[in-house]
């Protein structure tokens, strides 16, 4: 199908973007990589009056390391993250997740922040943002607001962003020495929507797990942490008994919804398999030398 008619603007300054967004609010859509937006326009699931193309705004480009933070500008693509040596070194979880996202041609245009804003519950980046305790940096004509990842999603494709607000960047704390990460995803075909997936991090000192982070994708209406399961694992050595308790807690804790191809029961089984594999990998892999 063909997209409906809409207007188009390509401002060069962030202030112009924010002014347009403030004037047109829900009638306007921001165009970053467009890899979800253009598909929804072509399918006429979305009929905005105005697209505001962000490609001309230099301030929204690029990855920046400053202090102990990695700042991902609104126009940074999946491919840029995949190819970045800084990401591989300081945010290895992102480097692990990037190849799972769609296909090369889509990764070349689609953006990290666009994925965060869209909030697809089966997408990779929202779960990574949660696992890393990232921050969403939002701007409007009224100023800047910093939103913790855990407070950002409120429901299916729903976030705390106001209609006149946009994500200008996301910030992630840099990985510290001794940190370990796993990203795992089950899909029917490489690049397809995840059936379930897990972005996980932990520290391991003398065999004892600490700072366990488990963020799930594809399990419900939004990405979710399993906080109770993390608590069961924190301060423990991985054993059959600990694993059994973690699995039991996970099953009780996760709000699992089915999708077109997998029932909640099937996903319930799969998250258990995935947790087992992830814990095995986390405790076996060499720690990060930061």
């Amino acid at each position: 199908m063909k997209a409906p008619a809409f207007s188009y603007a390509r401002p060069r300054q962030l202030a112009e973007v924010l002014a347009l967004l403030d004037r047109h609010r829900d009638e306007a859509r921001l165009l970053a990589g467009g890899q979800t937006l253009l598909a929804t326009l072509n399918m006429r699931l979305s009929e905005p009056a105005l697209l505001i193309d962000l490609q001309g705004v230099a301030a929204l480009r690029g990855l920046q390391l400053s202090g102990n933070t990695l700042r991902i500008g609104a126009m940074v693509t999946h491919s840029e993250i995949e190819a970045s040596p800084e990401v591989a070194r300081h945010a290895p979880l992102l480097a692990m997740a990037a190849p799972h996202i769609a296909h090369r041609a889509i990764r070349n245009l689609g953006t990290f922040c666009g994925s965060i804003a869209y909030g697809d519950p089966a997408a990779e980046w929202p779960a990574c943002l949660l696992a890393l305790d990232g921050v969403v940096v939002a701007r409007s004509v009224a100023g800047e607001r910093r939103i913790a990842a855990k407070d950002f999603y409120t429901g299916l494709y729903t976030t705390t962003l106001e209609p006149n607000e946009m994500i200008v960047a996301c910030e992630l704390p840099l990985a510290t020495s001794g940190q370990r990460y796993v990203f795992d995803e089950l899909s029917r075909r490489h690049g397809d929507y995840a059936v379930v997936g897990l972005a996980a991090g932990a520290q391991l000192q003398n065999g004892v797990l600490g700072k366990v982070r488990l963020a799930w994708l594809g399990t419900g209406s939004m990405p979710q942490r399993s906080l109770a399961t993390e608590q069961v694992l924190d301060g423990q050595r991985l054993s059959q008994a600990v694993l059994a308790q973690a699995l039991q807690t996970l099953r009780a804790e996760l709000q699992i919804e089915g999708d077109l191809t997998h029932s909640p029961a099937a996903k319930q089984h799969l998250v258990g398999v995935m947790l087992k594999r992830a814990l095995h990998t986390l405790t076996q892999q060499p720690a990060l030398q930061a």
Binding site: K2, A5, F6, Y8, G34, A49, A105, N108, L109, R189
Partner: protein, 170 residues
């Protein structure tokens, strides 16, 4: 109202796009995606439209130096940028060996997916000259073919990777 009325104008815009090395000015509506522009306005019919929502890969073209889904880019987004289609890539001669390998391996039957396959594979040949068969399969997994079963396509790409490696080593 402080709203400038022309902000919501859906009419055609003047754009300057370099297509296959030729820079030209064109009028395009914002709603027109890149492949409709290439096919309908420029008569370049090598890029095909299959699903028109980014799934099949038949519309794959290059924007600046990377492959993109032509149906997921608006022509107005390409203003000031370079586009290369299968016509340009063929004329450049840089994938002649890949095209020959596709013929040798029967890596096409109806040909609908072929231009997209060649565009996708061309970026693989440049970026990952050492790619394994598994990496080739992953890379090409974003392009659908309804005739070949993919084996012949992967065979052809792998053969060109191998022969270019030999060529590079000589």
């Amino acid at each position: 109202m402080h709203e400038a009325p022309d902000e919501l104008d859906t009419g055609a815009r003047r754009v300057t796009i370099t297509v296959n090395g030729h820079c030209g000015q064109h009028a395009v509506q914002p709603r027109t995606h890149l492949v409709d522009f290439l096919r309908e306005s420029l008569g370049l019919k090598g890029s095909h439209l299959g699903c028109e929502h980014g799934v099949c890969g038949a519309c794959t073209v290059r924007l600046d130096d990377t492959v993109v889904r032509g149906c997921l880019v608006l022509a107005v987004q390409a203003d000031g940028r370079r586009v290369e289609t299968i016509e340009g890539l063929s004329e450049r001669g840089s994938i002649r060996d890949l095209q020959q390998a596709f013929i040798r391996h029967n890596a096409l039957q109806c040909g609908f997916c072929t231009s997209g396959m060649l565009m996708a594979a061309s970026e693989l040949l440049e970026h990952k000259p050492g790619a394994s068969r598994e990496e080739v399969r992953e890379w090409m997994s974003g392009n659908y073919c309804r005739c070949t079963g993919y084996q012949a396509i992967v065979d052809a790409v792998c053969e060109v990777l191998a022969s270019r490696r030999v060529g590079a080593a000589v």
